[in-house]
Amino acid sequence: MADSAIESRRDEERARHEAPPRLLLLSVSLISAAALVYEILLMRLFSVIQWHHFAYMMISLALLGYGASGTFLTLAREYLLPRFGAAFVLNAALFGLSATLCFLAAQQVPFNALEVLWSPREWGHLVLIYLILTPPFFFAANCIGLTFQRYKATIGRTYAADLSGAGTGALAVVLLLFLVFPLNALVLASGAGFAAASLAWIALGMRPRELIAPLVAVIAALWLLVHWSGAELRPVEYKSLSQALRVSGAERIEERSSPLGLLSVVRSPEVPFRHAPGLSLNSPVPVPEQLAVFTDGEGMSAINRWDGSRGSLAFLDYVPSALPYHLLPRKPKVLVLGAGGGSEVLQAIYHDAERIDAVELNPQMIDLVSRDVADFAGQVYGQPSVRVHAAEARSFVAASAEHYDLIQIALLDAFNTSSAGSYALNESYLYTVEALQAYLAHLRSGGFLAITRWVRLPPRDEIKLFATAADALARAGASAPERRLIWIRGWQTSTLLIKNGEISDPEIATLRQFCDERSFDLAYYPGIEAQQANLHNRLKEPYFFEAATALLSPERESFTERYKFDVRPATDDRPYFFHFFKWPLLAEAFKLKGSGGLSLLDMGYPILLATLLQSVIISTLLILAPLGVLMHRSDGGLKNSRRSPVFGYFFAIGLAFMFTEIVYIQKFILYLGHPLYAVAMVLAGFLIFAGLGSRYAARITPQQAGMHISRATKAIIAVSAVYFLTLPSLFDVSIALPAPIKVTVVLALIAPLAFFMGMPFPLGLSRLAAEAERLIPWAFGINGCASVIAAILATVLAIHVGQFWLLVAALSLYGLAGFAGPHRG
């Protein structure tokens, strides 16, 4: 025993000066890429089978597999290090095997997200899903952690391989999701795990070589399993798509997958779809035959059958969003934001618009309507007056030089998604004060901006939108904002109009007639009297009217303060339009649970906090566990005074890295036009350039590490500060440029920042390797856990204090790390 311990120490001593083979580094890159692909695929897959805020929760917890690995390696290090090759290959292969199988197993858990408020059993199911999904992260982290320990002198190189691999993974997953369906992409991620195992086998010269063949065979077997065993995505039965397909005669006629979502087109000849949100009870015209389009099994929108005649579209004149056409001159020029299946475009055609610019985010949706079902849809997107643009609304408007008589923002989210509060955590730049200002700037004189929302009772987003409009008008310096607003509601939707100009008396007369004919209620117009509100679709009190008048009066602040929900306007700095949560709601909702009070709750935020809490608890356990072990080992025992700075340093840089990354992801969403592209580009940019930074740091000796940590953190703070001051004007001048140029701009901006951000971690590690090497896995674990906590904490902070203060927090943490890191011990 003693001999083998001495032998193993000698091996370690040798390894200290040894560099990892290039092929092994490639293997590390591959496993990092595969783990990142797995992570993003899980989000995609769970958005399809469940709802995406639960997906978010699962991922955050699954990532703790990294933390668990840190603990495991600390405990099993002496056994594993002498068997490095076998351990690496086994873990990589286990990653490959588990990535697909764990997901298929997790899908078998009968978790019903909708029941979590009623049934404690569902929390048990959720925990079970976490446990099932964690192993792949654990195995991947073992590969990387083992390599760190095996090649201590060149930690920077391993770290660089790890980061650049993850960066490549971030780009690869977007590409992959354009090419294949998510479940097949998962098998490819598994394949990458086996490929990494094979590469390591060759790199380390392990025998027999032939063992690679079985590894490859397992990939093939997995592929077969998924393809021919009937393995498929099984969305929960409560999703709209599942329910639509239960109806006799309903069938899925088309399915498209992209990173933006899984589009399913459904035909239902026996029980036709009749999707016309907000349709007046007085509508004399029937809704035509429709095809339903679901995104990730939810968010139904309709493609209407159109025979080219104007008469068949008459029903579109009986919804609240038709109002602006009655107030505008003939042949208006219209911009539809969120064109989807084309209902608002048809509405504009019905009202004889001279030109219609239709903006739709998802190119596959445009493709469906203008190609696959073009005849059914009456070539709506091929009409001479219609121009279709595949773009995000804000970016399109920012890049456009056109002015319109009407900018129509359709109901972009389905009622179910909206009412479940699942958007609460999404950054939405569509409904911010700055967004509304931008739309208003593209209106012709006398033109209208029209925004339609679902009526939710008690009202929340509708009121937040009104407050946002009032703010946007005030900020734009419009005279008498109260004379520029009209607000109406039906039993199901409400429409807010903002005019570029003051509303005239004849317009008010037309408005009243429009509402009277359709039994819509007047919520606000200049000069409205209390008795004119709340006549047709009666609420107990005229809540909408009261809110509108309060928001336009000097008591605005106190109204917002007192209102049950958070209805403060969303801004570009705090772009959480769908966040309505206030603490008293939680207690009240549960007290009123018996009488339907849970509708007061928007689940997104409470779930976010629950996620934060659980990740803090589990992270603490994962950090404290190895710490406890270390304390009781005489040979690894370190004084508390030595351990605390190490703990603090790696925790601080973990938080700071994620905070900074998330601030820039949010900043670039607006610039690049879509959260997904922003996430992929920023993540890839940060990881790859941070990888280069690590590579550079690998050349620095442990003795110089302290000085370089200090320099790197100062550089991060300086670069970030410059960016925060100059980015808005840079975006203004370059937002209209073509996408490839914008991507280059983003990468060029990220490069120096990320380069410096890649340095503190490996520098800290190399210092640790020289002074207290037993703490390396521990540092790795702390850093991993900090990253997980930071990912959630960053969202909480951004919701409450905004991006600016989040960045300040990140830079302060870097400052602290640079000032009081382990190098000062």
């Binding site: 019903n112 909708l114 029941e115 408020l117 009623w118 049934s119 039965e237 409560y238 999703k239 599942s242 329910q243 239960r246 109806v247 006799s248 026996e270 029980v271 036709p272 009749r274 999707h275 016309a276 949100p277 349709l279 009870l281 509508s283 809704v287 009622f415 179910n416 009412s419 479940a420 939710r456 009772l457 008690p458 009202p459 039993w491 199901q492 039994s519 047709h536 679709n537 009666r538 609420l539 107990k540 009190e541 809540y543 009261e546 809110a547 309060a550 007192r562 209102y563 049950k564 206030k582 008293p584 009240e588 009123l592 018996g594 009488s595 339907g596 009070g597 849970l598 509708s599 007061l600």
Partner: protein, 245 residues
Amino acid sequence: MPFTRRLKFSVALLCIGLFGTAAHADEYAAKRQALIDEIRSETRWVSSEIGKTELDAQVLAAMGKVPRHEFVSEDLRSIAYANRPLPIGYGQTISQPFIVALMTDLLRVKPDETVLEIGTGSGYQAAVLAELAERVYSIEIVPELTQMATERLKRLGYAKVETKTGDGYYGWPEHAPFDAIIVTAAPTQIPPPLVQQLKPGGRMIIPVGGQFLLQYLVLVEKSEQGKISTRQIVPVQFVPLTGAH
């Protein structure tokens, strides 16, 4: 002898069986009563919305009679009388008892009236209505659910209820007009044929929201002159201007 012994044994078993059933029945009756008491106390939260402090005694009596545990699967029977929605399969739920009571109350059904239900589901709501009305017609879109509910209602002796599988949008013209209509599946529009099939003075109630989460109720009323009006009812006391209650 063997025969007598067998007979005794069978009688003993039967007694145990009967006793067992009686014990179960008592247990369920007690749970039902507890549920009625809970509904009664929950009503205070909606008193300002519905303009009264108690739900109709007839409605509560009806709820006290219908064996809700018969309308859920075996494994959910123990919580059948909890005041919460329960899954019934096929992506559908049996509504929260309080909401069933509230909707039934808002329909103001009289003993000689005919009611149409769109969305049979488990058949529970139809059974409650059958305790109050002359006749109940119920349409369900999922064939398997219609079949299960039909058998169940027949077994439990609810002969007043007639069911069919179909598209609820067109109502049931053969039996129209109706005094009251209850739509339990949230539609994206209020079907005009249903409005037409409502008698003057008739009421239609539509819950809006997801499967497990009710947002609000829409009550459509047709006046004696045939004029349509709607009321939107939030099932919780909502005082937006103070944020307190």
